[in-house]
Symmetry: C2
Subunit: 319 residues, 2 copies
């Protein structure tokens, strides 16, 4: 299939693998790109030299387009941008910050830029900053999230109505039916994180992958709203945060509880009790760890079936 998103990124399917800290390195990104989606290196947990290494390895592992995700609040962002330009990366997804700062610099170098937003207000800002597309990411998504808590079902139509550039839906999407559901809302493609964290190529810890598989509805909650809201998988660390929040703990107390390098501890080193585990609500629907290519294939097979028969129990064209 071709549409605004497949053409923009020159990919086979309008399916983007989200950049995820400690999870999406060159192995996952190249596997997804080779399978016809858009793979993405998540630079938020990488030192500049590590990012460069991942880009070089990704270029060697695929001749298909891939992207790099840059959280705009990353402290070493200037170096990341420099490396991305030096290494000839063609697609960048920015997130968690103001797109007006870096979009024009990237665009001048011929880089295609998409920006992740949690509201149509931010989507309009991204559009006027020159972004080529926006990712409309709902409340149910993993990791850092917006303060307005607008869900994918409401956010996607709002963003589609607000902007003229293509819209990629994110948050709560792990299956082909969910992909079609999001595109029915007007999105031109989807960005999927959680489902790809539970793949063999994901660089997060094996124990974390198993926790994703084992997790059920209600096992994640948007937390740390007084700092930057982040959707956490429930564990001992979560319980500590929760207790503090319920008694009205201050920003500084929460910052202290969070401490440093806790995401690495949890997602990369596999301390499943005391680490910070970021994942989306849809982890409840993820049932196995498998190769990324097989995830892409299954989603697109299910998407095709759903497109042929959008309603489960009803023959079409009966209205």
């Amino acid at each position: 299939m071709t549409n605004a998103i497949t053409r923009l990124f020159n990919i086979t399917y309008p399916l983007v693998q989200a950049g995820m800290v400690w999870t999406s390195g060159w192995k996952l990104a190249s596997a997804v790109s080779n399978a016809g989606g858009l793979g993405m290196i998540g630079s938020g947990s990488m030192y500049p030299n590590v990012l460069r290494e991942h880009i070089i390895k990704c270029k060697a592992a695929t001749n298909k387009p891939f992207a790099v995700n840059i959280p705009l609040m990353y402290p070493d962002i200037e170096k990341h941008i420099e490396i991305i330009i030096q290494e000839g990366v063609k697609i960048v997804f920015t997130s968690a910050g103001n797109p007006s700062s870096y979009t024009s610099i990237l665009k001048e170098k011929g880089i295609t830029v998409a920006h992740v937003v949690s509201s149509s207000k931010f989507a309009l800002k991204a559009e006027s900053s020159g972004c080529d597309a926006v990712v409309a990411e709902g409340f149910e998504a993993g990791g850092h999230n917006g303060r307005e808590e607008t869900t994918t079902m409401v956010l996607v139509p709002a963003v589609v109505e607000a902007v003229k550039i293509p819209v990629i839906a994110a948050g709560g999407i792990a299956t082909g039916r969910q992909m079609l559901s999001a595109m029915v809302l007007g999105a031109n493609g989807v960005q999927i994180g959680t489902r790809f964290a539970a793949t063999e190529e994901a660089s997060c810890h094996r124990g974390f992958k198993q926790m994703i598989v084992d997790s059920r509805e209600g096992d994640t909650l948007l937390s740390l709203k007084k700092l930057v809201p982040v959707r956490l998988l429930k564990n001992n660390f979560f319980i500590k945060v929760r207790e503090a929040e319920l008694r009205g703990a201050s920003e500084s107390e929460l910052t202290e509880i969070l401490g440093r390098a806790r995401a690495k501890k949890g997602m990369f080193e596999g301390d499943l009790d005391e680490g910070e585990l970021e994942i989306g609500q849809v982890s409840a629907l993820v049932k196995d760890v498998r190769p990324a290519a097989s995830v892409v294939e299954e989603i697109m097979r299910e998407f095709a079936v759903a497109l042929e028969n959008p309603l489960f129990d009803t023959p079409k064209t009966i209205i």
Copy 2:
């Protein structure tokens, strides 16, 4: 169209108007039923004699099926059940409580019973209690809500997978595209509240209807989580609740701030500053107050168009 839900309720469209306190009396319910959906009287804000009056008037105003919604935590529930049986109501939607208590009593009288749930665990409970259908209501919905905060995009597939009885999706649905989107996830129909609150026949205050029309993304937030979580439209009362919650206010303090009859004050009497205003996130997409029949017609027209062309920008059958 016919499917499991149109057959179950003997209605034209698989579109249910949600029971809403101070908002859905006989006028709204009969208007929606006459337009081919399933109208519903919301009994949660009615004294027993008021409920009886609404049922009698609804029967006079339509010969189509309509339903009554009963929150199972309502103090006078026994009387409500008695009236429903006496007046020959054929369809009941229960919510906010344990379905095992009353489902069999209603079923014995030949009443069709649906129960509103916020998780697949509760959906299984409803199924095993003998309910004929479940409403899977996501986090984005207005009014009282589940503690797990699972959104429509994630909840609906989870519930569809868990139960064999038909599933009605609710939360974040106000347009025909959103209706199709929810049904692509496996729902057999949808329940729509917010959009019907902004109709001429809704019994809520005109000023509240205008606030729904004027509201934008981020103008509602799930609140009072230490009591029963409820999605509130932001106003002075909301700000007081919010301040208290951020400093960790106790249950009893929040109960005191809430006080008594605050929903009536806001939604019915039109005290838009100090009243409790319950509405869904999708109010951001509602742009006018109009007759309920025209809402049903527009949604079903948009649904039909969307079904013919599920993807906005892409011709079908291209995979």
